[in-house]
Point group: C2
Chain length 402, copies 2
């Protein structure tokens, strides 16, 4: 244990991103925040940014601000997320709604564009919203869900795609990083195979945006959605983002046809004509207030660089795996051991974990729990120290062995 403490101190001292820790709002009484992949911590500048916005923008420019910038924010912010974290050129990403609603829209549109096919494919291990929406959209389009088997730790393999995705597949929905195991899917290889089958590929990037490179354009991805309150620190329930490759935009029609997606928003026409480009994927009034906080985190990501963030992420999760090997031999590692196949979090399994969470939380050690017996350690690279990560593992050990 002494060695681990020394090692943590050493890693923190040598961490080129160490200074970013102080850029976040301090959390008194929190010894280890290990849930940055559920809810990222606010950046200090967000405290003032929101008040300034209320006073100087909303409160002073009032309705004029819609003309002076708010109408473009979903696209400008989308482009910024795309450039800094998604590897996507401008004009393909928009911020709106929630992940669930955007997933519904894109999946509906994708099924409509492949209406001559009969299946939506999704893995059994995907996040509930993804599976529920896939089922609902499939039923609505007279399609069935083709369940892809997935190794609970390694996720969905390319073989499974080869085997189950074919001429009957309309669209495939997968997560780049598994919300439980943290396994990283082979985005390039899988996307290529799905496209070769004539299907559309939709990636859920909730657990990847902001913590590892995504490279949507390079991999020729068709569609993607993701969340901004995890590694993009947009705050509780901040709006989500959707990516639609330029080549598909004008052929896809999403079902929630509201005034903000219409060709001429203020024409008040009788019939709906979708806008060209990404605007057609909007429905209601853009949630401007909810888009502010993430700008502060994007500033930090820009400053740090996504490669450096990924480098620290790999080192952090590797350190936690090593610490768990030593301190929690009773627990099972439910994440890939190879860091190259692991995202920003590490999950450990033990039947006693569920019961110990309230005491840990009360004591300022805050991991997450995932059914049935996983304790999930989310390590947001810019806001987590090695010492803090070790503190978390030590607290879990103390709770486990008494």
């Amino acid at each position: 244990m002494t060695d681990l403490r020394a090692r943590a101190a050493q890693l923190d001292a040598a961490d080129p991103l160490r200074g970013f820790i102080d850029r976040f709002v301090p959390a008194p009484g929190v010894r280890a925040y290990l849930d940055g992949n559920s809810l990222g911590r606010p950046v200090r500048t967000t405290v003032g940014r929101l008040g300034d916005f209320v006073r100087d923008d909303w409160g002073t420019r009032l309705i004029r601000s819609w003309d002076e910038g708010w109408m473009d924010r979903p696209f400008e912010l989308g482009d910024r997320i795309a450039a800094l974290t998604l590897g996507a050129a401008p004009g393909q990403t928009v911020v709106a709604d929630s992940t669930t609603v955007l997933l519904y829209k894109l999946l509906h549109a994708a099924a409509g564009a492949r209406a001559d096919r009969s299946e939506i494919a999704i893995d059994v291990t995907n996040f509930p919203t993804d599976r529920f929406i896939a089922q609902a959209v499939a039923e609505r389009h007279g399609m069935t869900v083709r369940w892809l088997e997935a190794d609970p730790i390694a996720g969905v393999g390319v073989n499974e795609i080869e085997e189950k995705v074919g001429a009957q597949t309309a669209v495939v929905v997968l997560s780049q990083v598994d919300y439980r195991s943290g396994a990283v899917a082979e985005v390039g290889a899988i996307t290529a195979r799905v496209k070769a089958a004539g299907a559309l590929m939709l990636w859920d990037l909730c657990h990847s945006a902001g913590v590892l490179p995504v490279d949507l354009d390079r991999h020729g991805v068709d569609l993607a959605v993701g969340c901004t309150y995890k590694y993009l620190n947009g705050g509780p329930g901040s709006p989500a983002f959707a990516y639609v490759a330029t080549r598909h935009q004008d052929a896809l029609r999403q079902p929630i046809e509201g005034w903000m997606g219409a060709g001429d928003v203020f024409a008040m026409a009788r019939d709906y004509t979708p806008a060209t480009g990404m605007r057609r994927f909007l429905s209601g009034t853009p949630p401007v207030l909810g888009m502010l906080a993430m700008e502060d985190m994007l500033d930090l990501i820009e400053e740090a660089g996504l490669e450096a963030i990924r480098t620290k992420s790999v080192a952090l999760t590797s350190f936690v795996v090593a610490a768990a090997d030593e301190l929690l031999p009773e627990a099972r590692l439910l994440s890939p051991r190879d860091a190259a196949h692991r995202g920003g979090h590490v999950t450990l399994g033990h039947p006693a974990f569920e019961g110990m969470l309230p005491a840990l939380w009360g004591d300022g050690v805050i991991p997450d729990f995932r059914y049935p017996d996983g304790i999930r350690l989310g390590l947001s690279p810019l806001s987590t120290t090695y010492a803090e990560a070790l503190e978390g593992v030590l607290a879990i050990r103390a709770a486990l062995v008494g």
Copy 2:
């Protein structure tokens, strides 16, 4: 004109709600804000509330806040809006998404519940989002849209309902207050006739919530949606609300089946089972940040009382109509002359209005424009003085006559 100025001063001096003006964030350079029905002004306490939330709640309690209150916020806030402004008992209102998305969900659910019928009825004068969504949902359900004719000023009459709503009607969508003319529909009489025909009644309350009594329960309304950034001052793009009468909740199934609407949110079950009660109308993660600002306005509404607000609203719009009669004889009154049939805004028509808006806005006089030639004066009772309203009419006169 001198008489009008004296009258305005008199009305302001005698206004029992006069003190509320100072509770809003000052807007330097704004001489007359007459667009409170597009975007309500922020309450002063909102400036600090948002920063406090970031520092003390999100930043300190972190993910624990979901258990400590955030999960209940959509329902608690919905109940508060219901009690203060909708005349609805608890357990029937939820805050989520946008008006467009909620309208889509409820209309989809309603059409599904009346799948043996063939029409969705909506008036030709309704707001674009409502008409677009009605058309999209009708098409999706193999139904057609039955267009209700409406007088451009008086709105949809009960006769039109008698004539066109019948055994073929699945659901009727109307706005309580017309977004252009401000006409107030006869909610009680219309709802009764729609229900007598066996159809469901969905009211859009965007331009009524917070400015006049709604009485959903008393009128036996089935469904309603509304906006919180107009007279509820929730800020740009703040989430909307949906009302579903208790008797319908467990029979309606909305289409965007996300994890937050599932019976057990964290069970991560394979199949979607909708929650009981209003939770089933949620889809994605609740937009907590976007729910904060409106609490401050609800505090003011509670303090002032909705009846007093309506009384001032009637006096304000009546004063503006009288001022327009005298100062703008060239303009047509596009709102009902009888205050009992008028909501919180007054619309005047003149071909020159469209061209004069940029200069007015630049000069700190901020009405709205509605196609084709309407200048809309939105008079949010707690944040608008009579003098300010007169200032607006005078500025329009100056722009018109040079």
